[in-house]
Structure formats: structure tokens, C-alpha cells
Symmetry: C2
Subunit: 341 residues, 2 copies
């Protein structure tokens, strides 16, 4: 490129060494706070650094140390607020450990995914935290032989890749149990595609709760959606409302789905929770802004993020890493706290 780049030439460690009349080794030692430098030379070097406005280049350092101090966060879509709180947790720990993150939105697109995997292959990233359920697990397994990888929230059983998650089956069980305990018997499930492990697990929790209370499963009450978006919730709810015997309660496996359901219920001039109670999942920020506010399962997202990074850093340092299951919590709000029956 024949184009002039922005900026003047910046000083490098050589020039600092010359300015301070010491060797580059000594400058490097001052930079890295090693204690084998005499007070006098340290002063000299620091003055030279200040005078030349020197900033050590991470490019040189990274090459020498064979690390980028970057890692990837794989998510299917940045629009899904569920991930945001996790990311905050990740960021906090990452920064404190002098790492930075590359937020990678795959759009569930294998090509896109591959671009990001390449970043790891080419040493531009030191590790991966995958939260993408649509990730190509074979590729991930292959990569995990040479690179540090942690699965967060979503995981593949028996992949050998450590994960941090919650007990989805139990969370789902509790959500449904709550609906049963406030008097519901006709409880629908808006689930996502059962190719995802969490979807299968949450369905099992749903079934277990029904069975425990002797409620027979109505297969018409289970709606599967392709994605976890608002519109998917609307469509699913529309189907449920068109049933001859429509449910009196709905458990959706994501808040966005639940909010879509809410909207559709309102559109049919029905009332939540007196006509239909709704429970979501995730406790995203918006679940508290709807009208009525949404009962939901709170995942410890921030914690999940922090734990994931710690596991990743351990893994990068060659330590043995165990998978972790975190606690969840049922948050009862207006969408189920009416006086049903």
C-alpha cells in the first residue's frame, strides 16, 4: 500500500536503551519490574521512557512470549441479551488478569465460525469460551487438542471439553412445579429445537414435574421453535391459542420467547396471569420491563462468566479443569402471581 500511515514513528526499546545509555535487556527488566536493577539505572531508564514517550509494543512482546493475551467468546448472536451479562462477568475477570476478549458472533454460520477458529489456529487468540449451541462440536473437539477451550452454558456431553452451566432439568422442573402449585394443570411448553441438549433437558424437567403431580402429558402443549427470538414466541403462542383446549399456563425456555408469548396473549385480549400465566427463563433485563413483569428462572450469568474465564486461564496454564454446575433460582413476578382459581 503506497499510502502514508497515520502517526509519526514511535520509539522502540532500542532507542530507550540508547537514550538511557544501558542495554535493551536492562530496559526490558525495568519494564517488567524485575528487582535486579539498581535504583540509579532504573531512574535513568524511566526518565528515558518518559522523554521519548515510549510505549512497549505488544506485538514484539506477544511474539516473543508466544501468546496474544486475547481469547474468543463464541456466541450465536449479540442480540440475545442472555449472553450480555455473562460477557460482563467474563470481561471483569479477563481485564483483571490482563487479558482482552474478542467477541465473536457466529450467526450460527459455519463460515463465520471458521473465521474465528482460524484466529485461534493462527495464534491470534489463546483460548475459546464457547457459548454457541450451534457450534460444530467436531471442530471444537479437534481444536481442543491443541488449544484451551471452555464451554459456557451450552455444552456437549462427553466432548471432553470442560463446561460451566446450570442444572437445566431441575430448573425447568421447578418452573413447572411452580405453575402447578398455583393451580395450573394445562401447562404448555415453548421449547427450542431438541437437537440442543438444554432443550432436551428442560423438556425432561417439564415432564418430571407433570408426572410427579399425576398430570398427563398433552403433546399438543409442546411447541418447538427454530430460534429463541421474540417472533418465535409469538408464533408459538398463536398456535397454543388456536388449540381447542388452550393451556392456562405457559413455560417458555427463554425470556424472549416468553415476552413474545405475552405480546400474543395481549393481542388476543386475554389477560396475564388471570387467563394465562407465563414463565420465562434467563432473567434478562427486559423481563422486568414488560407488563406484567415476567416470572423467570434466574441463571447466575455474571458468575458463570467469571467462572468460565477462571477455568480457561487454568486450562491455558495446563492445569486440570473440572466442569462446574452453578445454582439457579426461580424469580416469581407478576406474570404468575395473580390469584388464579
Amino acid at each position: 500500500m503506497g499510502l502514508r500511515k497515520v502517526g509519526k514513528k514511535l520509539a522502540n526499546i532500542q532507542e530507550v536503551a540508547k537514550q538511557a545509555r544501558v542495554s535493551v535487556a536492562t530496559v526490558s527488566r525495568v519494564l517488567n519490574g524485575q528487582n535486579t536493577v539498581s535504583e540509579k539505572t532504573r531512574k535513568k531508564v524511566e526518565e528515558a521512557i518518559k522523554k521519548l514517550n515510549y510505549e512497549p509494543s505488544m506485538l514484539g512482546r506477544n511474539l516473543r512470549n508466544s501468546e496474544s493475551r486475547l481469547f474468543l467468546i463464541l456466541i450465536p448472536s449479540i442480540s440475545n441479551p442472555f449472553y450480555l451479562e455473562i460477557i460482563k462477568g467474563i470481561e471483569a475477570v479477563a481485564i483483571s488478569q490482563n487479558y482482552n476478549i474478542l467477541l465473536c458472533e457466529t450467526d450460527s454460520n459455519p463460515e463465520r465460525e471458521n473465521i474465528y477458529f482460524d484466529l485461534v489456529r493462527k495464534k491470534m487468540a489463546d483460548g475459546i469460551i464457547s457459548m454457541d449451541p450451534t457450534v460444530n462440536i467436531e471442530t471444537l473437539k479437534n481444536l481442543s487438542e491443541n488449544h484451551a477451550i471452555i464451554q459456557c452454558s451450552e455444552y456437549e456431553e462427553g466432548s471432553g471439553i470442560p463446561y460451566v452451566t446450570i442444572d437445566n432439568e431441575d430448573a425447568s422442573y421447578r418452573a413447572v412445579k411452580h405453575l402447578i402449585q398455583i393451580g395450573h394443570k394445562n401447562i404448555a411448553l415453548i421449547n427450542s429445537d431438541e437437537k440442543y441438549l438444554y432443550a432436551r433437558q428442560r423438556k425432561m424437567g417439564y415432564i418430571r414435574a407433570l408426572e410427579e403431580y399425576g398430570i398427563t402429558l398433552n403433546s399438543q402443549f409442546i411447541i418447538l421453535t427454530q430460534h429463541l427470538g421474540f417472533e418465535n414466541g409469538q408464533h408459538a403462542m398463536k398456535k397454543l391459542l388456536n388449540l381447542h383446549d388452550r393451556p392456562t399456563a405457559v413455560f417458555a425456555v427463554s425470556d424472549l420467547l416468553a415476552i413474545g408469548a405475552l405480546k400474543e396473549i395481549h393481542a388476543s385480549r386475554l389477560h396475564v396471569p388471570s387467563d394465562i400465566a407465563v414463565v420465562g427463563f434467563d432473567k434478562i433485563d427486559f423481563s422486568n420491563m414488560t407488563n406484567p413483569t415476567l416470572t423467570t428462572i434466574a441463571q447466575p450469568m455474571y458468575k458463570m462468566g467469571t467462572v468460565a474465564v477462571k477455568m480457561l486461564i487454568d486450562k491455558m496454564n495446563g492445569k486440570e479443569v473440572e466442569s462446574i454446575i452453578l445454582d439457579h433460582e426461580l424469580v416469581v413476578r407478576e406474570s404468575t402471581s395473580g390469584q388464579f382459581i
Copy 2:
């Protein structure tokens, strides 16, 4: 660190050269698709690459090229959905140009901000797209002398740093004019702190619309909030509802504020839009999920993102870059489409 790192040793360009019985220069030429390599040697090299499972290290390449092919996106908070669509636009162009982005959440915290600026100073990032209105503009100006920087959406007048944004004054004017045209005279403004340029601009648009229709300004109708969150909208609306003569319409400078206002209005058993009409700003995804759906000003966020990256890349290549104002649009939805009066 005495700990074993993950993974076996990976091949480097030297070993590929040896395996293919050529020089590293030739391997590099094959890698970079230069045409001065004969078909025969190219084959040899490609076979060696495959055999050794070689992946070129970006660390080496980046050092040699003095670039990281990374740039920073500065945002105050990832929780604000307004930024997400912009980021998608940024990502799309970045990827197509072989760049990756570091999403940097400052939390409006100068320390945090400085960590990210350091990344640029230390050459870990090639440029910055700042969307943070709380950014320290002096530091930004200083940095812009040596580094490529673009301001996106938020900007500082006369900073000399190119920006891409919309005409905030006009957008605000149109929103208020819309409220006037459907019959409102008592129109409140929920604005953010006027230390931000966009807040001052939007206030001016509000005033201009009122003046144009001969409506006298009621200073009690202007509420300033510290942040742009849901709760801030609730609080602001509470103040407005407590006024002796409460407004019949509210224009909030962000959808989140407007959604908070909606919630508060409902809590007071009032109806939108028949009792109070509401207009937001940004057209975030959720503005279409509320009940009623929200009238709002649509910013071309995706476009803004793509434009910002193009400007940044031009800037990095030393081209002269002009600031750009993009178009906006009023989107009328349920929160103002009732038959008021």
C-alpha cells in the same frame, strides 16, 4: 510459569521450508499468494504445509507488518441495545476486510477507558471507533495525533476527529412535530444530561417544534436523567405524573427511557396513547415488543456501523476522511397512533 502449556509444538515456517526443500521466502510467497512462484514449487510447499498441519502465526506476521488487524469499539455499556445493531454493521465490514474487533465496555469509567486506550498505544489495536459520549475527549484528541480514530453516533464538535452520526436536532424536531400534529400541546421531554451534545441538540429540536406551532415552553416538562436506562425513564415519568398539569405526550430521547415511562404510566392505571402518548428514540428491537409498541426515531444503525469502519480503514491508510450525517426516520406505531382528541 512452570506449568505445561496446552498443546504440542506447532510447525513454523522454517520447518515447512525444510520439509519442502525451499527457502522460507518461497514459503512466505506461497502463503501470500504471490505469483512469482512456479507451479511445481507451489505444489511442493502446499504439500509440506498440509503434511505438517502448518498454520502461519499471526504474531510473527503482525510484528513484521507493524499491525494487529484489530480495532477497538468503545461503548459505555454493552447492555444498551442501541449499540448492538451498530456493532453488527461494524463486524460485517471488519470481517470482510480481514479485521477483527475488540468490544470495549468502559462503564463510563476512566480507568477502564485507559486500559483500552493503552491497547492502542501499545499497538495491540490499529484504530478506534468511539461511541462513548462519556469518553475523555482530551485523551482522544491526543491519541488521534498518532492513531486512527472515528467517532460514531456520539461526537465532539471541533475535535478534529471525523464522525458519522445523524441530525439529532432535526430528528427530535420531527418527533415533537408528530406529537403536535396528532393534537398534543402539553408535551414533555425526557432528556439526558445536557453535557452531552446530542442531548443539547435534541432539546433544540424540541424547542424549535414547539416554537413553530406557537406552544410556550413549560420548563417543568423537561426532565433530565443521569443515565439512559429503564429505571431512569420510570423515575422521570413519575415526576411528570406528579405535576399538577401533567403532559399528554412524552418524548424520550431513548427507547429504554420511553419503555420505562410506559411502565410507569401503566402503573398509574393510565392508558397509552389515549391518556398519554409516548415517543422514543433509536428503534431498538424491544421497541416493537412492548405493549403498546413504541413510536420512535429509527437511526440507520447498521449503516452507521459499516460507514464508521470504512472511514476508519481509510483513515488508517492515511486518506483524508470527511464526517458524514446519515438519514433518520420517524416510525409511527401504537404508542402514538390512538385517536387522541
